[in-house]
């Protein structure tokens, strides 16, 4: 341990001394043994919050969107902020599972399953918001190009339609990829389970996996294929989300830097969320041997790098608004920094630009508590960033006569907090029912790293 703290870069991706059997034992026992008491407590709290979401959504659908703080001119309040934030968080999962797989990075192995689950649940939360914030949510299906009796198609020139396709594609590909990866592990659980109902549950999900050479050959082929399909999504989905803003003419939104800056922000916040979740999990389930300091260190570095790109994005926004000579752009920048929402702006700068600089220090990257705190601050910062983008631009655009302030209501908060409930409730179920680390890939890692006995 002492050596690890001094130099997390050199720490192994899998602690030495593990064999195929011990790796599988350790991961599958979390699922197959009894439920720890803490799990019930955590799940109960998350479930209650999820019920808060259900309650707030029901009230919203019955009473209408007026229960939120949105109005003209600020028609996009918390809903779009939350949407962009949640979908951004998902990006880390796809990056870890797809891009790092294609780049053959061994450190993805023990965190990819978990990160993919996080992606799925984050996308589920994100997908709620565009629908909830429609004035008439019951017509959400009009977004789909289906042969309707109105004789009209959706407006294909609208970013809202691009969003729909981007998000459904993203959700489907993520689900497929996650499930594909799970199949060999589900078969392992099926074989290790002792009770018949448990055997049947995992047996059904494993879809007849026997682990034959043919199975593995096809599995690897299709797994890489889906990874290749998912790779462009890491870039495309958040680019399209940024078009929701960039395609408009509102000052502060109409910017060509938005797509890359949004993608970097997504990866930034996504890795922050992975760290926020991984750090307590590895401590609770004693997975320090699998998710080592090396992992935390590498993730911190990715956070630092993507954070720097985000910071560059901020700087370019300031520069462009000055260099453009456009009154409205210049006003927008000043208004962000010194207007009525200035507190949010400075909080964003503090959390997203200043604090991540601490990650340059190896000592900080080796300190689990500090990493945890920083990752939470980055999550907060990225959420605030989206709020700043949404609210400051809309509240004061071209005509001072049409300015107006935005303040969230209790129902805005209830929906936002409720999504955490749904996210964590699903995550708790995932931890309880499915192996949170890929056993099959960990066994490969045992062989590749030579951590176990010689074969």
């Amino acid at each position: 341990m002492a050596q690890e703290i001094n130099n997390p870069t050199r720490a192994p991706v899998l602690a030495p001394g593990y064999t195929y059997r011990s790796v599988t034992d350790k991961i599958s026992s979390i699922v197959l043994r009894g439920t720890p008491r803490g799990w019930y407590v955590g799940f109960a709290i998350s479930f209650l919050l999820a019920m808060l979401l259900l309650f707030a959504m029901t009230y919203l659908l019955i009473a209408g969107i007026g229960v939120w703080g949105v109005n003209i001119p600020v028609g996009w309040g918390f809903a779009i902020t939350n949407f962009v934030w949640w979908i951004g968080i998902g990006h880390a999962g796809t990056l870890i599972s797809a891009i790092l797989l294609l780049l053959r990075q061994p450190w993805r192995t023990s965190i990819n399953r978990f990160a993919e689950a996080m992606t799925l649940f984050a996308v589920a939360n994100a997908a709620l918001f565009p629908i909830l914030h429609l004035g008439r949510p019951y017509f959400a299906y009009w977004l789909f190009p289906y042969p309707d009796v109105m004789g009209v198609w959706p407006q294909f020139r609208s970013p809202l339609i691009w969003d729909l396709f981007a998000i459904t594609t993203y959700g489907l590909v993520s689900l497929l990829f996650w499930y594909m990866g799970l199949v060999p592990d589900l078969a392992t659980l099926r074989d290790r389970a002792t009770k018949t109902p448990v055997k049947m549950f995992y047996g059904l999900l494993a879809m007849g996996w026997r682990g034959s050479v043919y199975h593995w050959r096809r599995y690897h082929k299709s797994y890489f294929l889906i990874a290749a399909l998912a790779t462009p999504l890491v870039v495309s989905v958040h680019s399209i989300v940024s078009f929701d803003f960039a395609v408009s003419i509102v000052p502060g939104w109409h910017t060509t830097i938005f797509p890359p800056y949004f993608v970097a922000g997504a990866i930034f916040s996504g890795f922050a969320m992975v760290l926020t979740l991984t750090i307590p999990l590895r401590a609770v389930y004693h997975l320090e041997d699998f998710v080592t300091m090396r992992h935390l260190n590498v993730m911190a570095k990715v956070m630092l790098a993507s954070g720097l790109i985000v910071a560059y994005g901020y700087m370019m926004e300031f520069f462009t608004s000055w260099y453009s000579g456009n009154t409205f752009e210049q006003f927008m920048t000043l208004n962000r920094a010194f207007g009525p929402y200035a507190v949010l702006f400075w909080l964003m700068m503090l959390c997203n630009v200043v604090i991540p600089q601490a990650l340059w220090l190896r000592r900080v990257r080796a300190n689990v508590i500090l990493l945890f705190v920083i990752s939470i601050l980055i999550n907060v910062g990225m959420w605030v960033e989206r709020l700043v983008i949404v609210v400051t631009s809309l509240s004061r655009d071209f005509l001072p006569s049409s300015w107006g302030m935005y303040a969230p209501t209790l129902w805005d908060w209830a929906v936002f907090i409720g999504t955490f409930g749904l996210f964590f409730a699903l995550l708790f179920l995932f931890i309880r029912l499915l192996p949170m680390i890929s056993m099959a890939e960990m066994r490969e890692l045992v062989q590749e790293t030579g951590a176990g006995e010689a074969h």
Binding site: P147, D148, V149, G151, V152, R190, M200, G203, M207, G208
Partner: protein, 216 residues
Amino acid sequence: MAQIFHRSTNTLSRLSIFGAVFIIGGLFTVGAILVRSPYVTNVGVPVPQPVLFSHKHHVGDDGIDCRYCHASVEVSAFAGMPATETCMHCHSQLFNDSPMLQPVTTSAATGLPIAWNRVYQLPDFVYFDHSIHVNKGVGCTTCHGQVDEMPLIQKATSLQMTWCLECHRDPARFVRPRDEVFSMTWQPPPDQAALGAKLVSEYHITSKTNCWTCHR
């Protein structure tokens, strides 16, 4: 190791994957058929009326012009419903003691209008004007069907937006000469394409498909 599932599970699982595609596709197809069916559109379903009034008898047998009762069709958005006095033009003399006519005679005696039930009910968010359509060569039967063959009045067309747009996107397929608008027997001639194009330019019909043409 003992098998958890019977051999037949393989077939079942293959079937369910294969079947799911068809079941989901089938559900969409059923839905698409249902919304276009009379079950939803009420096409061909007679609407109950306070008087057993037969368009077939009055229009088909007696040859009364549409405008005799629906008098404002050429000048107003609303085609107009006949006042009881219009009925009484004839029925003060004809069948005035028939029990079938009793609601009409009661109405004439008391002055309370007959509460007819609407057959062509457009949603409130749709603006529609009869006069412009009639004056640009859209015949009554184009939308209302062969009213002269309906003993009980019913919808002949769905009123769905696709149906409106069929004509609004290409009026040449449906317009007829102005003097044929109220004809019950006019059929599109073999050269409707040429005739339609000629009438469209002659009557200055500009195809209007802006949202706000109807949703004002």
